[in-house]
């Protein structure tokens, strides 16, 4: 479904701030794979997702979605086969627009925007049904401005917008990191629900090792722009946080104790 072949990305090349974010990285995702991505700060997790989404071009390598080469496609064109949820709850929605208008925008992803009315009555009913299933009470607030919602509500809405067009690949970039633990758990639960219902191929970046183990059928760990651990199936099911910590230490070397600490700290 998604095939990443030998991509590299260096930020600020030739300067003192040069940072190799992706280093000859390759990854194959089968249809229906739900991959959790972990790694320390600066490991390249977000860069990987942004490279897939086309936020910036890669220096070399190729990206295929459903066997189509999308390496050179601009961000807005790739959106037709991608769904994305960001870390910042403010980033995925338009605060000045109504809940129904945000959903209607997402429902037209990959289509030409015409001079037809931006939302139909039939859509409204659909949206109400979809929102009802989130159990957040949003179904009665279709004409509320999104700016008035809480961070968790906005992330749940962004999730709905991301999957409304059944994307080929769903990219979740630490989408619960900015939420309080209870809300984060709720949004994760909704994520699982929509991914399972739609059998979406998914990549979820997380800082939380327990979440990384509990969700999905495959787990990859990144370090210095490379994939250093890739486990799936039974092996992944039997993973423990301690296993992951050990893997992380051996993969990254003992001098990166800070990152290990950071990861375990987020686990509490």
């Amino acid at each position: 479904m998604l095939s990443i072949r030998n991509i590299s990305k260096t930020f600020n090349p030739g300067t003192v701030n040069e940072k190799k974010a992706l280093d000859n990285l390759s990854l194959e995702l089968k249809e229906g794979d739900f991959v959790t991505v972990i790694g320390g700060n600066g490991a390249g997790k977000s860069t990987l997702l942004n490279a897939i989404a086309g936020v910036y071009p890669v220096d070399k390598g190729k990206i295929f979605a459903d066997r189509i080469d999308v390496t050179r496609l601009p961000e807005f064109k790739r959106a037709s086969f991608l769904g994305r949820v960001f870390q910042d709850p403010m980033m995925g929605t338009s605060p000045d627009m109504l809940i129904e208008e945000n959903l209607a925008l997402a429902a037209r992803r990959g289509q030409r925007r015409t001079l037809k009315w931006g939302i139909t009555e039939v859509e409204r009913e659909n949206y109400r049904e979809m929102l009802k299933r989130l159990n957040l009470g949003l179904e009665d607030r279709l004409s509320t401005k999104v700016g008035l919602l809480s961070g968790g509500q906005r992330q749940a809405l962004t999730l709905l917008m991301a999957v409304i067009k059944k994307p080929k690949v769903l990219l979740l970039d630490e989408h619960t990191a900015a939420l309080d633990p209870k809300t984060a758990a709720k949004v994760l639960e909704i994520s699982d629900q929509v991914v399972n219902e739609n059998r979406l191929t998914t990549m979820m970046v997380t800082h939380n090792m327990r979440d990384a183990i509990a969700h999905g059928n495959r787990l990859i760990m990144m370090n210095a722009g490379r994939i250093v651990v890739d486990v799936s199936g039974e092996e992944k099911k039997n993973l423990t946080v301690k296993d992951l910590m050990d893997m992380f230490s051996s993969a990254s070397g003992s001098d990166e104790a800070n990152d290990v600490l950071l990861l375990s700290g987020k686990n509490a």
Binding site: A53, K77, G92, T93, P95, E101, R108, R109, W117
Partner: protein
């Protein structure tokens, strides 16, 4: 007493001026409030609209046709700014300034190298004229201006409810989200700036007919008047309604209030040379007060 009679005498003029500038202010509202771009092209494109309109009418073109041409010319000015911004990576404010500056030379060329060109209502069949502003018949400019305002607001209300209009609104409030939803944000910025400057140039054409001349300096400070209309309108209608059409109407009302206040200050004996200073102070005050009140009211976070 004479103060009030003279103010009363000046009111129709202020209303007509406010309506003319109201169309321009609707264009400013589009860029400033919907697209979140401070587009400084308008100081140039309003004068371009005036220049084109006057020169065409002088050449014997029907004023209605001339007004349609001002729409197109304004859109072209907006296109230049938009291309400088989206295709050349120039920050939006600077792109607007560059277009505005170059339009000064272009406007002079349009007006045959002269700093102003007159178009007398005696010689030409103008759509509106200041002369009849107190007339009690159909030569009065106010009915036509009201009609144009209604048409403009209706058109904007319709357009920003369409799929395309919604995508432009999304581009304005959150370009990241817009791109993630497959919206070509650069295209949207181009369309928005073109529509905005078309309205501004149209208003310039009306203004030139209204005062019977176009002037190379008629756009100086136009953006400030447009912003004044936007912020005054919002200040006045703040608590009334969230309806989009009413907000647009508020902008026009803001323009009228601006000209009424201006008339009052003039009647009070203020020097016309100080007008620009006063305009700037009005806008600064209307922008600063909400900021201060918000800052003081800040307690909870928006999460």
């Amino acid at each position: 007493m004479s103060f009030f009679t003279s103010l009363l005498n000046a009111t129709p003029g202020a209303v007509a001026q406010g309506l003319v500038w109201g169309i321009m202010a609707l264009g400013v509202y589009l860029t400033y409030r919907i697209m979140h771009i401070a587009d400084l092209t308008v100081d140039g494109s309003i004068a371009t609209g005036g220049a084109v309109c006057v020169m065409l009418i002088r050449a014997g073109i029907n004023p209605i046709v001339a007004m349609l041409v001002t729409l197109a010319v304004g859109a072209l000015a907006g296109l230049i700014t938009a291309l400088l911004h989206t295709k050349c990576g120039i920050p939006d404010i600077l792109a607007g300034i560059l277009t505005q500056l170059s339009l000064y030379s272009i406007n002079l060329r349009i007006m045959g190298g002269k700093a102003n060109q007159t178009v007398s209502v005696d010689k030409y069949n103008l759509l509106i004229s200041q002369r009849y502003v107190r007339a009690m018949n159909l030569t009065n400019p106010i009915p036509l201006l009201l009609l144009l305002i209604v048409i403009t607001i209706a058109a904007m209300y319709w357009f920003f409810g369409t799929e395309k209009g919604c995508s432009i609104r999304a581009t304005g409030t959150n370009p990241n989200m817009a791109r993630a939803q497959g919206i070509n944000t650069k295209n949207d910025i181009i369309i928005g700036l073109m529509i905005s400057n078309a309205l501004v140039a149209f208003s310039g054409g009306l203004l030139a007919q209204y005062q019977g001349a176009s002037d190379i300096n008629m756009g100086r400070g136009a953006i400030v008047i447009g912003l004044a209309a936007v912020v005054i309108g919002e200040g006045v209608l703040k608590k009334i309604s969230g309806n989009f059409a009413l907000r647009l109407l508020g902008v026009v009302i803001g323009a009228i209030i601006y000209y009424l206040v201006l008339q009052i200050t003039l009647q009070l004996g203020l020097n016309t040379n100080d007008l620009k200073l006063i305009s700037a102070m009005i806008v600064a005050a209307f922008l600063a007060v909400p900021y201060w009140t918000k800052k003081n009211a800040k307690g909870g976070k928006n999460a």
